[in-house]
């Protein structure tokens, strides 16, 4: 401090602050390096475990399991990683063989111990692995994770429970799908799609019928992707009675039954342009002779997207050829209608050429 003798208090304070900053910097650097060294150590352990277990876990289904080495706690992380990977469709290793390996190394016990560690990664990996093992005894162990604050954890638990015991899982899962708008819809749809559609359809349809207008659109979409037959009557009813544009919009996108077209045709003149557009698209997918005239009217719509989808729908109708489309074009005096037919015909030529 000799350097600062006689210096103003502000200078002394600034110097001390600078020293504190330098000390913090050094600490940060040491922490960074320590973390990296620890990371390297963990990577080495996992790599060794993987090198040891990978050939055994990913061996062809015809290979006998034989006597396996003891699964040490050091190898556990790496083992679970390959175990979960082996269940990915890419590796299609036979489940029976993997189940035998799991039994012989007492994997379930290890996983249940992992489930109670505070480390997020370990818990999630254990939940995923327990889902692959499909032992009914682990259902209750995984169940509490369904209420975890993290959507990742709770969705993994949902998937795992559906794999372990779908009959018990569905009644627990469906109300949560209704409640948890924050669950990724694409992931929920994947989980539902992996399950037996018939098993999920009824409770899902029931929940859809009782859902609020905020929730109903995503429930209809889930139901239509899991079990279109169960969705059809709900879609029909919703198209007849619903006034909420989100529900109508979802129904138009999800409907697959030509018998319901009577509910769609009035929507071609709906005041909301995107409902007109979706109605046109639906008519293109399911339309029957006579609908071309309705679509032709939309070619002069004030909205570009309605004109575009109507033109696409027109050409998608199995009974309308390119020549028919040209004739419809000639019948229009509106330049926008004529342009959009040119556009869509050119697109079709490109598609045919590709």
């Amino acid at each position: 401090m000799n350097l600062l003798s006689g210096a103003a208090p502000i200078v002394q304070f600034a110097f001390l602050l600078g020293v504190a900053i330098c000390a913090t910097t050094l600490l940060m650097l040491l922490a960074t390096i320590a973390m990296r060294l620890n990371g390297l150590r963990m990577e080495r352990i996992d790599a060794r475990a993987e090198a040891h277990w990978r050939p055994l876990l990913l061996a062809p289904a015809t290979d006998a399991v034989g006597t396996l080495p003891r699964l040490t706690s050091r190898d556990l992380r790496g083992f679970i990683h390959i175990w979960n990977e082996a269940h990915e469709p890419l590796h299609a290793a036979t489940t029976d063989r993997l189940a035998k390996i799991a039994d012989s190394v007492a994997l379930e016990d290890h996983l249940i111990r992992f489930l109670h560690t505070p480390i997020f990664h370990h818990r999630v990996m254990a939940i995923i692995a327990l889902g692959h093992i499909k032992k009914a005894s682990s259902f209750e162990q995984v169940l509490p994770s369904l209420d975890d604050k993290s959507p990742i954890m709770s969705l993994c638990a949902a998937r795992s429970l559906m794999q372990i015991d779908p009959v018990r899982a569905v009644p627990k899962l469906v109300p949560l799908i209704v409640q948890r708008g924050y669950w990724s819809q694409g992931v929920v749809a994947s989980i539902l799609k992996e399950s037996d559609g018939k098993l999920v359809a009824e409770p899902l349809a029931d929940a859809t019928l009782h859902a609020t207008s905020d929730v109903a659109p995503r429930m209809i979409r889930f139901l239509a992707s899991v079990h279109p037959e169960s969705a059809a009557p709900i879609i029909r009813e919703a198209l007849r009675t619903a006034s909420d544009e989100r529900i109508i919009s979802t129904c138009l996108q999800a409907m697959s039954n030509p018998a319901d077209l009577d509910c769609v045709r009035p929507l071609l003149s709906h005041p909301l342009w995107y409902l007109r557009m979706q109605a046109a698209t639906t008519l293109g997918n399911l339309g029957v002779p006579g609908d071309e005239q309705r679509l032709s009217t939309l070619l002069s719509d004030s909205q570009w997207w309605v004109r575009y989808r109507a033109a696409q729908a027109l050409l998608k109708l199995s009974f309308i050829s390119a020549d028919d489309a040209r004739r419809i074009q000639q019948s229009h005096t509106d330049a926008y209608a004529r342009d959009i037919i040119d556009h869509v015909l050119a697109e079709r030529t490109l598609e045919l050429g590709s």
């Binding site: 960074t32 390096i33 990296r36 990724s184 994947s190």
Partner: protein, 498 residues
Amino acid sequence: MTSFLAAGLLNLQWVFFAYFILISMAYLALHYVSVVTTLHYMRDNRAEYLPKIMPSYQPPISILIPAFNEEQSIVSSIHSVLRLDYPEFEVVVVNDGSTDATLARVIAEFSLHEFPEAYRQRLPTERIRAIYASPRFPRLRLVDKDNGGKSDALNAGINCIRYPLFCAIDADCILNPGSLARVVRPFLDDSTTVASGGVVRVLNGCTVKNGFLEKVELPRAILPLFQSVEYLRAFLFGRLGWSPINALLVISGAFGVFYKEHVVAVGGYRTDTVGEDMDLVVRLHRKLRREKRPYRITFVPDPICWTEVPSDLKSLRAQRTRWQRGLAESLIPNLRLLFSRRAGAVGLLAFPFMILFELLGPIVEAAGYIGMLTLWLLHMIPLQSFLVFLFLSVGMGILLSTNAIFLERLSFQMYPRVGQQLILFVVAIFENFGYRQLTAIYRLMGLAGWVFSGKARSDWGQIVRDGSWQSPDANDTTGTTAVVAATGVTAASVEKKP
């Protein structure tokens, strides 16, 4: 009078000190928020825990590549983008009246034919000459238009795109195959998301093969090395810190995804600014806040976009003056956001921060150096005071950079070797002796340019590229052109004009 001036000058040290404390606290707070956000993000995204999202739930997306005189690179850029791992997307390349062979090369490479598009002009742009499409590459369209600058090209692209989300990328960026899926995820997780952006990293020193990043290394040249640390600082905690409180004011023009209807509703990209990317985000905030609509503008910490940074002083100067000018042009016309009751964290925190520390920062920094030096030369403060303030300033600079290196270690570990981290630390020290002051001067020049010259026009922000990151044996999978995605491709510099 002299004593009054002397007292004023002496009081300056207090002003600088107070400013220093304020800026340090603000950056450290940002760092703290970034660490917490990163820890959460990494916890959830450390591995692919969840089953793949059903493709029908991934929204289709339009990728916009505005291009001006990119004959060297545009073909490989397009090939790279066409290979992205995403279920449904289209690529719309906008040729902004290039004077070189950009148009001809794209037409020839992708067998494009003129297409009778029913073009609708929702945003005003320069004249569209023609639109092209290809039977071989049905996802690709090319819009050829009169020259109007980058914003104008982006607006023309927006007029053409089909899908509700669009991703604007610079033609000189390298993307990872999963980049699009990553940056779109906030739109799936939260339906109120209107825009999202990701981390931009320094490409110099890396190896790129077939349009994709093959090996990540630190740059060998000193100037890009300084920028590596700077990018970590600016993109990791400079932006990650604002995202959780929905106060992010910048999404890099190099790679950002936007909800088209919101962008059209604010009038698209402004053509009279060089900072069109930031300006757009600020206007989105302003509009959505005014309408009291729930919305999110999100930052994804994944390193999803890699870009070549200037390796010569001339390019660096051009880039930094342009950025600073863009900052001023984005902030000042939207001053109403400042402390606005409706503006929430944007008006109360992010906007004042940007004005006080980012916009005025170079002025205070330069004044600080000059002021302290003057006071010392006039013997108004002792040498020890001057040195202590210098020590404090440099120390804080090193701490912030070390924080960024720490954050990088916490997150994606793109520079995993201990040796690389030590190099970054050494760079974090030395950037405070010359580089930092140099960029402050460039930023001051940018401010001066904004104050003294008239309105700018959105330009193409050209830098000289060395293309050293290209793998020499890399071949395009189509067997047609070469090498790398992205631009700059050759060692030669490509001179661009607005």
